[in-house]
Amino acid sequence: MDSNGDTGLLREEAFRHVIAHRSMLMAYVRAIVHDPGLVEDTLSDVSVAIAQSWERYDTSLPFGPWARGVARRVALSNLREHGKHPVLLDAEVLEAVGVEMDAYADSGEGERRKQALDRCIEQLSDPNKELIRMRYLMNRTTREIAQTVRRTAGSLYVTFSRIHKTLRDCVRRRLETA
């Protein structure tokens, strides 16, 4: 096979890995890049960077830690380019959290979890559903939402914490009974 064909196959293999681990990568990028709009851009850049450096990846080693290393480099570079300097957790702590994320990436039940999450959102009360819509679908920050709904940001963080817990329990029940 010619070198162009080899490169094409390698890139396809790289993208297959990216797609299989996309939720993990998005979650990891989200932990560094807090701006949802920039998360999308960064994730695209990460997938390209992984494809470009695929030849340097030792396939006998787990994909997660290597991909997160690439993702971290790209994410920090994008933050610099956009003049953003968010407060970040320690790199080793983030990697330790990333290892926990591998459990989800390897479980192969991402699509089922997503569908369960969708159903569970529908079961939320209308006010909580609206909060989820504003926060995650309209990409507003909690402080912006607090201004809109005339509550303190502190109380909204607690409310979102409860909503996440409710969703988590609901998803778990659905996955167990399915």
Binding site: H34, S47, T142, R150, T152, Y157, K165
Partner: protein
Amino acid sequence: MSDEDRRQHVDTVRPVMLRYLDGDLSQDDAAELSESLRHRADLRREFAELLYEHALLAELSKEKEWAPSGSVARIPFLGRLVSVRFWLAAAVALAVLAGWLLLRGSYPPPEITGSARVLDGGTVQRGVLLAAEGTPGGLVLGGYCRVEMAPGTRLQIEGSERSEQVYLTAGKVVCDVDAGKGGLTIRTDLGTVHVSGTRFSVELLAEQGGREMMTKGKAIAVAMAVTVMAGSVEVDFDGGRELLVAGATRVFAAGKGRIEAGKPSYQMHGEEGEWKGRGRIVGMVRKGPRFEITVTDAFGRAAKEVESESLEDGKKAYEVWLAPGRYNVRIDAKGYKPLDLKNLQVKSGTDLRIDLEFSGR
């Protein structure tokens, strides 16, 4: 530490994790969170789950096309990036995008017309205060929002490209928003109006016959009138959201009720059982609506949020269990001005009783 204690600790830290993800955490608090995550596997799992949920929610939002008009265009879903053909498609798309950007030119800055002027002088830009005196003024935002300012109107330019926003502090604005170009939000102290492609007006009404109540030079509006001439608008008011369609006029009146706190008193219970290492803020309400209590610590971090409980005799009560320390408490009830109680000291094994009284509605 028991399993229950661990769960409670995770519940306490989760809002801090959400703050971190919002970029709303100080360097010191992030360092503290780092240390907690470094030493606690259950917190790392919790954070990983939270991040994973964010990722799934982001994917769901794209599949459901729930993103509002005026939001930034999204990058194509990664699932499409599987083929070498992607590179060709991406190159073509980039070329088209570059051409479009060249043709489109830069985003127009805010412009004022008529009697509108910048209150402190200087150029028209985001953040400045504008006023229209004597005769009507106008403001054009992003080239697609035309805001007519009635005489006596005061507002501040906020927002960002394609998500334009003004903070209306007095007077009336009539807004024309071209469809498909972006959104416009009119924010007031009473409520918020969101639109994307419509014509509508927002007027702040003062207490009596147009006479404005003034506090520190700022008019206090007691009601907000919204009229929709075309399209529809969403109005956020008093914790709820209402959709108004063309032809509708609604007056949203501010609640005038007052919440007052009784004299605080302490009652010791000892350090045994549930009181060990904890204290409580409690109180009764003889007559009043359902209310919500938000407790923040000395650093402004959310510590607890509880709702009132209805008792059989029609009274209401609340209780908040807390670790000993100093806290700020806010009481919110629909139609009432929120009450803030500052720097309350919670002592171990002790009730801090503060009764509440609702009046004026």
